[in-house]
Symmetry: C2
Subunit: 452 residues, 2 copies
């Protein structure tokens, strides 16, 4: 019997994070202040600890992972790499399909990879509280877990639509000692402003970020922690791709294509960036970011400087954006409901170094069920996006007879998303059209930056 799970020892957990900036043809576009002028690191000290800020602006290829962080990683890392033989049989494809399974973390997704690092650095500088936002709840539960491990209080602003769709993600955060609020709230100016406009607002990641940032900026003992988008977050997630490369080496294989869901970009960056290092060195590998067609940032957005949050509290970042006040439809992949995208991912896409595809909601659940019935694991709705794109490629291989090697990031399990699967089975799941008018409206509000 050939091996299904390709495992590594704890000693194989990466000792350094990979910083893609060192291999990018051009330096990342700098963040700008409201005045359109580049801001310095000091502008971030109100909400981030200095070690994180240094990582945010670093151009070093390799950054050491603190032993205290690796020590926590050992709870679930190295995560397994699976050869999806049953899925290959179910599809009748000549393609070889591998998936890296990050759902083995206690929080059930890849998010703890950066949550643990961020909690550690904040603890190091004496921070007692962290605020953050969460969509599907995967990030919030990851930070709740990490805060618990380092004795830091955590307050989570959870996007209301997810708070209602996924009550047990909230319970999970509370089990790890975190406080969870449905965003928008009445506790912040940003939240009150939204509620004044729409008391029934379903919320969005952009709004929740505004609330968490506003609170962190207003308290000395409190910092803010972001689950995606920023350079240091993608940096921390590169343990995924580094392990995957080592695991594929063990079986003498290498992917032709790598797929990952893409919301803010850390899921994609985590698995894809270490392969980009090879691509930069001349190796052939296609890196595909998969986003929801109802929030098609890379495929339909505008490449421009925009705010990372709805209220415009963050610095301006050069990214593909649908407009910082765009509120995506309430799809069940809450983690992909973000108006923008990582500066690094956006620039790589703009320079044609990576690819992107947008998929509608229902077929992603169809893919998730095909996967669950062959491989056993029930995937998170976010992960279903990567599975959909990977299955589509495997079916193309079936047509063409090509035996491509495909890898995707199974970023999390769907144990807290069964209500979404219920809606899929009952035929109540919605497919949203591309929200043409809403996006046209929100794009009007992308700030005009001279010369940017």
């Amino acid at each position: 019997m050939s091996q299904l799970k390709i495992l590594l020892d704890e000693s194989d957990i990466p000792t350094q994070w990979y910083n893609i900036v060192a291999d990018m043809p051009n330096p990342p576009a700098p963040p700008l202040g409201p005045d359109g002028k580049p801001i310095g690191p000091e502008a971030l000290t109100a909400i981030f600890p200095m070690p994180i800020i240094e990582q945010e602006v670093s151009a070093e290829r390799w950054i050491d992972i603190p032993e205290a962080v690796r020590d926590i990683y050992r709870m679930w890392r190295p995560s397994p790499l699976f050869r999806a033989r049953a899925l290959e049989r179910a599809l009748g494809t000549p393609a070889k399909i591998y998936y890296k399974y990050e759902g083995v973390s206690p929080a059930g997704s890849h998010k703890p990879n950066t949550a643990v690092a961020q909690a550690y650095y904040n603890q190091q500088v004496g921070i007692k509280r962290l605020t953050t936002e969460t969509g599907a709840g995967q990030w919030g539960s990851a930070l709740a877990l990490a805060g618990q491990m380092f004795g830091i209080e955590v307050r989570v602003y959870m996007v209301k639509v997810s708070y209602e769709q996924k009550p047990f993600r909230r319970s999970m955060m509370q089990t790890w000692g975190a406080e969870v609020l449905a965003s928008p709230t009445n506790l912040t100016n940003a939240g009150r402003k939204i509620l004044a406009e729409d008391a029934a607002s379903a919320g969005s990641l952009g709004i929740a970020i505004s609330e968490a940032v506003e609170e962190a900026a207003s308290r000395d003992d409190t910092n803010y922690s972001l689950g995606s988008v920023l350079n240091h977050v993608l940096l921390h997630q590169t343990v995924i791709g580094q392990e995957a490369k080592k695991q594929l080496e063990k079986v003498g294989d290498y992917p032709d294509m790598v797929f990952a869901p893409c919301g803010g970009g850390s899921n994609f960056g985590g698995i894809a960036f270490p392969f980009f290092a090879d691509k930069a060195a001349g190796k052939q590998v296609r890196l595909v970011a998969v986003e929801p067609s109802s929030c098609p940032t890379l495929t339909r957005g505008q490449y421009a400087y925009d705010f990372g949050d709805t209220a415009g509290l963050t610095p301006l970042m050069k990214m593909y954006t649908l407009g910082h006040d765009f509120i995506p439809p309430g799809i069940h992949a809450g983690g992909l409901r973000y108006h923008g995208d990582s500066v690094l991912v956006s620039q790589l896409y703009n320079e044609g170094l990576i690819e992107a595809v947008a998929v509608p909601q229902i077929v992603t659940f169809e893919a998730g069920v095909i996967f669950a019935r062959s491989e056993g694991i029930i995937p998170a709705p976010e992960s279903n996006h990567a599975i959909r794109a990977c299955i589509d490629e495997a079916l193309r291989c079936k047509q063409s007879g090509e035996a491509k090697t495909l890898l995707f990031n199974l970023s999390g399990h769907g144990h807290f998303d069964m209500a979404s699967y219920d809606r899929y089975f009952s035929g109540e799941l919605e497919d949203y059209d591309y929200p043409e008018e809403a996006i046209a409206r929100s794009m009007q509000n992308i700030p005009k930056i001279a010369g940017a």
Copy 2:
């Protein structure tokens, strides 16, 4: 950094199941017919395939695991053994605590270890449908998964209280293609009888078993599959203890005590029986079954011949029983709500070869939260029983200064039990007194078997 996870290779998955009957001082008490006379294997052919019946009555020490079953086991086996260093620190105990984590299976518990074997043997004899019961839903989801893997239709009678407490366990079973009904139903005589007496019946494992057995006995293409209690089920679960022994050997350790939750007995038998083999050979090791004080089968039950189900459709089995029509309080550890116990576990307990302890509900959740906040993993309510007993022993070690080595079976995660954790946190969780009167009543109905 010393190792946290002790892993094995796929090649280390046991190739044989361990049959404890070969090492028991006395042969297991035989099942009896309603007439009080021992029944032969043929009496079981209406609901079980012959290979399963042969395992049920076998006295062979080792029974080969079919390659097709090991092939499916590789999806999650070998499961990890963890050294609970963070829990040890949190307790300040000199004891060494290890736990075997079965929650890594797609169904999230140890149950697929036998579900896969049972589905395989039924497929081998041409069975197209399986019926079963489920309490917490862990068994039902395991059989749904296994049925999906072998192309067998599965109908699950789910105890109504759990059906209502754990709707997403139902969704999970449906994701794997199974049909799920809230028991008692109107589809069987057994169900109709209960509903006639109490239309609002919360159900029980005993009732659900009656319904599933009744249906299976009435259809040629349909067999019945049981998730615990029977010899062959405990046999299949011995992969857990076999792996745990090998993993402890890797770190040069051996347990002084082994703890496992005990409902029907397969959770306990799975981890404890392979250690009993050493005990039978003279090794010192204490094996402790942990049950709920609201359904204290071993610690307060009567050792007598009784039916395995409420309606009295099964053969009579010699076991500790609270009476086959006892309906336990609606505790959240649905998998432990069973009036009886495995014949093998009961006989070992009666002969003083294993120990048992009963614990009330609230302190089991307290233990689960202590565990979740140190080790990260959120345990199933059933598992919390073993954690409670293990923590209590670790705290005794703290008093005595003994550095005992403790092992428990973390039989599943609590991702589908967060509503129960919510009740614990909100102070709404009930502690049931020992149901003195109800048990006195149901014990009246234990059949009087001459000479047994």
